[in-house]
Each structure stands twice: as C-alpha cells, then as structure tokens.
C-alpha cells in the first residue's frame, strides 16, 4: 500500500475507481478448498455487495482482495495502478487503547502525514462522522455504533480508492446501521469503490449497485442488483432470496 496522504481533490473524485480482477483464484487451508476457483472483475461504480450464507467465503474474498491473505493459486490484480490506496473496516472494529482522536492521529502518523497537519485532519474527520463530543473518550469504551463510525473515520483519513467492509453493521442497532450506511454512501459519492459483505437482504437492496453472490466457496452469481433480486439465475441465489436456509 502506498504510504503517503493525498488530500481529496476534484481530480481524484472524478477519476473512476480502479477495477479489481480475480483470475482463477483459489484459497486452500490444509488441503481443503475454502474459496474458488473463482474469476470475476469488479468494474462499474458499484457499490459491490458480497452476499451469501455463513462460511461461503465472503470474508475470505475480502481479505484476499485486501492482501491480508495470499491466494494459494491464481492472481488478484488491479487495473491501472499496481496497488491502489485501500482501507478495510472490520466486523469488530479494531481500535487502539487510546482516545478516539489519538486513534486517528496514529493512522495519519503511520501514513507519514506531517505532524502539524495531523490534529486538524483528525478533528475534521471526527466532525464529519459525528464524533466531536467523543473526541477524548477512550476508543474502546465507545458504543458499538460509535466504534464503527470511528473505524470509518480512520478509513476516511486514508482517502482510499477502494474501501472493504466486512459485515460492518452485523452487531449494530437500526440507528447505528443508518449512520454506517450514510457513511458508506458518502465514500461512494467521493468515488471510492465499495466492496462490502452482508447477509442482510434489505441492506443489500438499499445499498447495492451490483451483487456478488457466493455459496460453498464459489461465485454463483455476479449481476446488477436489480437483476439479482428480480431474476436470480442460480438455484442457490433463488433459495437465498426466498429466505430458505442455504448451505
């Protein structure tokens, strides 16, 4: 990942987000195939929602894309740049044992933002995500929704071209879900490619541009959202949308 901070400029907003290409990717663990082989390209504007039952390989797909894991076989490539700026928000936000603002300043320091700019940028991000009042609260005593917003604020500071979200709302109440979804839309409007996993059909309907449907470690469908919800092709997707219990 590049490690310098680029302010959000008009040119950055207008440039289309990089495309993500999986070429025959598989991931094995101890001779067991957990994902793949799968090939697809994420293009268009998205947001891409990765759906499927538990254990389908959704999180794995995100971790492979974000280079937290390396594929056993196959290639994962980006269009244009070798490795665009990216960030990830986890299901359980990982926050440092310090104040909310210190968490943001740390992320900026790691990305070599000059010291004098850090505090202002961090406070701006807190304000944008409605956390100004919690500025000096230890991050780990914030509520679940606030923690997730802080994680989003941290991702925001990295100006990612791609943002991965791994079930960011699965442990939150409706108000917090609304705030997180608003933040995701804001990222999307800024031209960030969104790749998000969820198993909530309603959330997918609210957010999705296209759907990547996984089950049993294989990509069963990759279609625009309206097609997916109206006329799913694969048997698994039909069952999933109908509310049956898919394995």
């Amino acid at each position: 990942m590049t490690s310098f901070h680029i302010p959000r400029l008009a040119s950055f907003i207008l440039s289309p987000p990089p495309e993500l290409c999986f070429d025959d990717v598989t991931f094995n663990h101890e001779d067991k195939v957990l994902l793949g082989p799968c090939s697809f390209t994420l293009k268009g504007t998205g947001p891409t929602l990765v759906m499927g039952p538990n254990g389908a390989g959704k999180s794995l797909l995100l971790r492979l894309s974000h280079k937290l894991l390396l594929p056993t076989q196959g290639q994962i490539t980006w269009s244009g740049e070798l490795c665009p700026r990216q960030a990830m928000v986890f299901q359980q936000p990982v926050l440092l044992r310090r104040s909310a603002v210190a968490n943001l300043i740390h992320a900026l320091a790691v990305n070599n933002v000059p010291r004098r700019k850090r505090v202002k940028l961090a406070h701006d991000a807190l304000e944008r995500f409605g956390l100004t009042a919690r500025c000096y609260t230890p991050a780990r005593v914030l509520s679940g929704g606030e923690q997730q917003r802080l994680a989003l604020a941290r991702a925001w500071l990295l100006s990612p071209q791609i943002l991965f979200l791994d079930e960011p709302t699965s442990a939150l109440d409706p108000a917090a879900i609304k705030a997180v979804e608003a933040a995701v839309r804001e990222f999307h409007q800024q031209g960030t490619r969104i790749v998000m996993t969820t198993h909530d059909l309603h959330q997918a309907k609210r957010l999705a541009g296209d759907i990547l449907f996984l089950s049993g470690g294989k990509v069963r469908e990759h279609t625009p959202a309206e097609v997916f919800f109206d006329k799913p092709v694969s048997r698994e997707a039909k069952a999933f949308i109908a509310g049956e219990l898919v394995e």
């Binding site: 937290l68 990830m88 790691v110 230890p138 780990r140």
Partner: protein, 165 residues
C-alpha cells in the same frame, strides 16, 4: 521460565569468584553481585510474560496493522504503548519475585551485616539463631510489602480495564 534460584546463584558465584572468569571485577559478596543474581533470575520471567502480553495484543491488532500498511518495525512502538499497563503489571510481578528471593542472594552476597544482609536472608539467619520474634516481625514487614505490590498490580489492571477497555 523459572530458573532454580540456587542454581542461578551457584552460576553467578562461579562467575564472580576470584578464580572465575569475572573474578577481577571483585564483585563477589557485594550488593552488585546480588543485583546480578536477581537480574539472571528475573529477566527470563519478565521476557516470557512481556512476550505473552505483546503477542496477545498483536493477535488482536495484526489485520488492522497490515491493512494500514505498517511494517513490523512500525508495529513495535504502537504495540508497546498499547500494552503499557499490561507491561507495568509484568514489571510488578518481576519485582514481587525478586523481593522474595533468598537462596541466590545468600550465596553471592554472603549475608554480611550492614552490607549484603536483606530481609529474606535476615529471616533465615534469625530463625536459625532461635530469635523468633525478630524473624516473625521481619516476615510480617516483608509480607506487607509484597501484598502492597500485588494489590498495586491488581489495581492497575482493574483501572485500565475500566478506563481504556
């Protein structure tokens, strides 16, 4: 993790004795020798406990760190700072271990009154002489000190859990 204290004492004794490799330093039967023996005894405990604490934290933080593009050398200061309270309790555990030490410090210190006689070695000596009231009194003082340190370690842990989560 735990070195038998008398074996550590014997090793330091052999190292520091006149005929030993470090005999020229003239440290045997001085407080310096006792400090050296304590370091040999406590350092492995501190290292093992610290490693365990930092490793636990890394397990929790690793994915986020990699996601932020941090190198291993950049992770280290962050981990040490975030483990600061856990490391403080480790330090207190080490101090508790050292303050209870008898065998090694007796061997390399020589239990010389006014120079290398500490509370634990005094208790051994006074008990041997049959001066039980003094031995008991010293025992109570030592016990109180160790209990205070343990209480401190516990409080630090509790406070952190509440404040920093």
């Amino acid at each position: 993790m735990g070195l038998p204290p008398v074996v550590a004492g014997l090793m330091v004794y052999l190292l520091l004795s006149r005929a030993g490799p470090l005999g020229e330093w003239g440290l045997l039967f001085t407080p310096g020798a006792m400090i050296l023996a304590q370091v040999v005894l406590v350092l492995p405990i501190l290292a093992a406990l610290s490693r365990q604490k930092v490793e636990e934290l890394l397990g929790e933080y690793r994915e986020q760190f990699v996601s932020l593009g941090m190198s291993s050398s950049r992770m280290m200061p962050t981990l040490l700072w975030d483990a600061r309270f856990a490391l403080l309790t480790v330090l207190l555990a080490g101090f508790g271990r050292a303050s209870a030490e008898v065998g090694a410090v007796m061997m390399v210190g020589g239990n010389i009154e006014g120079v290398t006689r500490v509370m634990t070695t005094s208790i051994v000596l006074e008990t041997g002489k049959g001066n039980l009231p003094l031995a008991l009194g010293l025992g109570i003082v030592l016990l109180t000190l160790v209990m205070l340190i343990n209480a401190g370690a516990y409080l630090v842990g509790e406070l952190t859990r509440r404040r920093v989560g």
